[in-house]
């Protein structure tokens, strides 16, 4: 009964929050600045859930969105939520600018900030000198002081006359910031836009990153350098207007350097530092949830802890857990979801596998401490215990006690839901090699098989063609052999004379085929001067005797051995001399 007034007050607070009217306000970090000196604009929205940053634009001011921070707090039983949208305003011309009321809509109603005024004076005289150059760069640091570990978004702006063609060189190289005692985040992809400066239009390549001071003191950023391959038209004197399509370009590699800057890095206060502070600097919120909400002892519960906000998420370690009695807690898995290009605004999630060892009613309490550079104080966030109904008997402890500790190697029993690997292979291992196939001899030996087949095929084709080509010659040689036998064996005079003359003709044909040209025919041999006169006379007599015998039927039919010998002798002499 004594708790009733307390509950009533809490309910009243929650009701008050629900009924609290949303509000919006805007503020500038400086109201007077000089050209190219950036100032920070913060739009603060209270008691309304706005996720998209409102649009802010003023002619003559370059305004870029830098990030969002959301905070929920309960003060004096009054819950409130605040969303802060941060912009970096870089004036490009002097003058007095009015930033019109910024409007957000929620619950069907529109809310506006009051108008703000920014006076831009003509500042550093050297700055106007740089703007006459075809290219130059500047380092934009929005803060003059920060704490160790605090992430400071910075911009590296590389200005190029609109007639210069440029590209980072070497490709993929990012700017190098000269200086010590700081670390930077990975650059986001550079953005390119056109800006008017002192009446001239420049193309600006903007690299964004975040810088973190690692030790107290004055942090001197000497300069940032980026190499560019630029193509400059001959005769460029900062002229405006259309580019001449026929003009010549000169290519060169240049290192473009920015101005320097300095930031005072302040140490984190040591006095009221919480014991569980791990180095997180920024503004964060903490939420926790658990599933399922009703289990038996020994069964797993997954508790998800989300840390959301703007800050150095790489320094956020797993939060500490209290009220862990009755729970066995395993190492959590971590995941980060970035909400902007640089990862300044993000959500880091820790998933704790829990196993209840006895009947309990609430989950462990999560506690997370960080340093808020805006309020310059340490903040400790705690979640409320989550109601979980655990039923069953007490089970013996299986591993190291809570809170979270590294699980022991051989005694660790992983509950269902905790990732584990498939079991080992016990089959006999099959030997294998890391040598690439193209470096193994077997690959090249295998290539020899089709190569040999191709060679064999080619040789076969050549052989076949050769046989076809030599077919007439072989027929003539065969006939020639038959005639020789006939001359040696025939007793008929007509046959022998016919065979002898045919043999001579065949011999001429064979010579013609072998020499590939047109050697003399038998007639030409007989009538020409190439053979001795005696052989030519005998050949003529032979041909005439054959004609007389075949066509005139002159002379005896029978053949004498002397005549056969004379004919054979003539054929041998012909062969020797022809």
């Amino acid at each position: 009964m004594n708790r009733l007034p307390g509950l009533f007050i809490i309910l009243l607070g929650i009701l008050g929050n629900a009924l609290a009217e949303p509000s919006i306000s805007g503020s500038l970090s400086e109201t007077v600045t000089d050209v190219d000196h950036p100032v920070k604009l913060e739009i603060k929205v209270e008691n309304a859930r706005i996720t998209r940053p409102p649009n802010v634009s003023v002619n003559g001011l370059s305004i870029s969105f830098a990030g969002t921070a959301t905070r929920t707090q309960i003060l004096n039983f009054q819950a409130s939520s605040v969303t802060i949208f941060t912009y970096i305003i870089t004036p490009v011309r002097e003058g007095i600018y009015e930033i019109p009321p910024v409007e957000v809509s929620t619950g069907g109603k529109a809310y506006r900030t009051t108008a703000m005024t920014l006076k831009v004076i003509h500042g550093d005289p050297t700055r106007s000198a740089t703007s006459d150059k075809p290219y130059f760069a500047e380092l934009v640091v929005p803060k003059e002081s920060a704490y160790v570990g605090e992430q400071i978004p910075i911009e590296l702006r590389f200005y190029f006359n609109q007639r210069i063609q440029y590209q980072p060189y070497p490709q993929g190289q990012y700017p190098i910031i000269e200086g010590e005692d700081f670390v930077t985040k990975k650059y986001s992809d550079p953005a390119e836009k056109e800006l008017e400066l002192n009446g001239r239009i420049y193309r600006v390549l903007i690299y964004k990153t975040a810088l973190t001071g690692v030790k107290p003191g004055k942090l001197n950023l000497q300069s940032a350098t980026q190499g560019f391959l630029i193509s400059t038209p001959f005769g460029l004197r900062g002229s405006q207007g259309f580019a001449d399509p026929f003009e010549s370009f000169q290519q060169q590699v240049v290192d473009v350097k920015t101005n320097g800057s300095s930031i005072q890095i302040k140490p984190l206060p040591a006095g009221d530092r919480p014991a569980d502070f791990s180095g997180a600097v920024g503004e964060f919120t903490l939420t926790a949830s658990a599933q399922p909400d009703k289990v038996k002892t020994g069964n797993p519960v997954s508790m998800k802890v989300e840390i959301k906000g703007l800050g150095n998420f790489d320094r956020i370690e797993q939060p500490s857990l209290t009220n862990t009695d009755g729970w066995h807690i395993y190492q959590p898995t971590e995941a980060i979801e970035t909400l902007d290009d640089l990862g300044l605004s993000a959500t880091k999630t820790f998933s704790y596998p829990l196993v209840a060892e006895k009947a309990v009613t609430t989950s462990p309490i999560v506690r997370f401490s960080y340093f808020n550079p805006n309020s310059e104080k340490y903040v400790t966030l705690s979640t409320s215990p989550i109601n979980i109904e655990v039923q069953g008997e007490l089970i013996p402890k299986v591993s190291s006690p809570s809170p979270v500790a590294a699980p022991s190697v051989s005694t660790q029993i992983k509950p269902p839901g905790v990732p584990d690997v498939l079991d080992i292979e016990v089959r006999a291992p099959v030997p294998a090699a890391f040598t690439p196939l193209t470096k193994q001899p077997i690959f090249w030996i295998a290539q020899a098989i089709p190569a040999c087949a191709l060679l064999a095929f080619g040789f076969g084709l050549w052989l076949q063609n050769a046989r076809i080509a030599s077919q007439p010659l072989r027929a003539l040689n065969l006939e020639s052999r038959v005639l020789r036998k006939k001359i040696g064996a025939s007793i008929n005079r007509s046959d022998l004379l016919q065979a002898a003359v045919r043999l001579l003709e065949l011999d001429c044909e064979i010579r013609s085929i072998r020499k590939g040209g047109t050697p003399p025919s038998l007639e030409e041999w007989i009538n020409g001067e190439r053979l001795p006169a005696e052989i030519r006379r005998d050949l003529r007599d032979l041909v005439e005797a054959r004609s007389a015998r075949i066509y005139g039927h002159h002379g005896p039919e029978s053949l004498t051995e002397e005549e056969r010998s004379r004919i054979i002798s003539l054929l041998n002499r012909w062969r020797a001399n022809a």
């Binding site: 930077t184 005694t411 690997v421 080992i424 006999a428 294998a432 890391f434 193209t438 191709l454």
Partner: protein, 228 residues
């Protein structure tokens, strides 16, 4: 007793130690087998499991990767690799080059087969005595295109995952730095299991290229070559 028998004995002893939950002992036996160059996908898979049980997820990932290099169709190794990568928070999708690199030994086979088919078909198409000259012509064109594509992939991926200069990050908190010194500023933070291409070494530092294309220096002990 020959080396095969010794290897089998060691293999069985390592598996038995693992089954009894003596992961450290199993790991030592598996490493001895690796040191004796008795490589097999099963050996690296089991060694990966032993490292996993010892909570060294970096070396577990490295050995699952080795198992997959030797046997790209090793489904259990694929599953365990995914599990280990998920635990360390490295869920970056594989690049096309890495995906193709897994099958680096397949492309030379395709290239050589298509090359010889194209050559034989060209010879066939040029022979007037064959009545299928047009068919051979088409086949030779198709095989030629396949050959050129597979050859281009071979050249692009090189030795693939068997590249001796390919290494994996095996420890957390690994930064690619602008210079070979602890105090040098980081270029980018590397995740466990992220591949890097080793270029040169100086003392305890190795100059390398991350798979994001960034160049920088890394502590040599934080990376290990995939090809042992």
């Amino acid at each position: 007793m020959n080396s095969d028998c010794l290897g089998n004995t060691k293999w069985n002893a390592a598996n038995a130690a693992y089954a009894e939950g003596k992961y450290e002992e199993a790991k030592v036996d598996y490493i001895q087998l690796v040191d004796s160059r008795e490589y097999s996908s099963e050996l690296f898979y089991n060694l990966g499991d032993a490292w996993f049980k010892l909570n060294d997820h970096g070396r577990a990932i490295l050995n699952y990767q080795r198992a997959l290099v030797l046997n790209p169709a090793f489904e259990e190794a694929k599953a365990n690799l995914q599990t280990a990568l998920k635990i360390v928070g490295n869920e970056d999708p594989k690049t096309i080059r890495d995906s193709l690199g897994t099958y680096a030994d397949y492309f030379p086979v395709v290239a050589s087969v298509t090359f010889w088919i194209a050559i034989f078909c060209i010879v066939g198409a040029l022979q007037k005595r064959f009545s299928y000259g047009t068919f051979f012509g088409f086949v030779s064109i198709a095989a030629g295109i396949l050959f050129v594509c597979s050859l281009a992939i071979c050249i692009w991926i090189g030795a693939g995952l068997k590249d001796p200069d390919r290494a994996l990050v095996i420890e957390s908190g690994t930064d690619l730095k602008y210079g070979p010194a602890i105090t040098a500023r980081p270029v980018e933070s590397l995740q466990i299991g992220q591949p890097v291409q080793l270029i040169s070494a100086r003392g305890d530092w190795t100059f390398c290229r991350a798979n994001t294309g960034n160049l920088g220096w890394i502590l040599s002990r934080k990376v290990e070559r995939v090809v042992p």
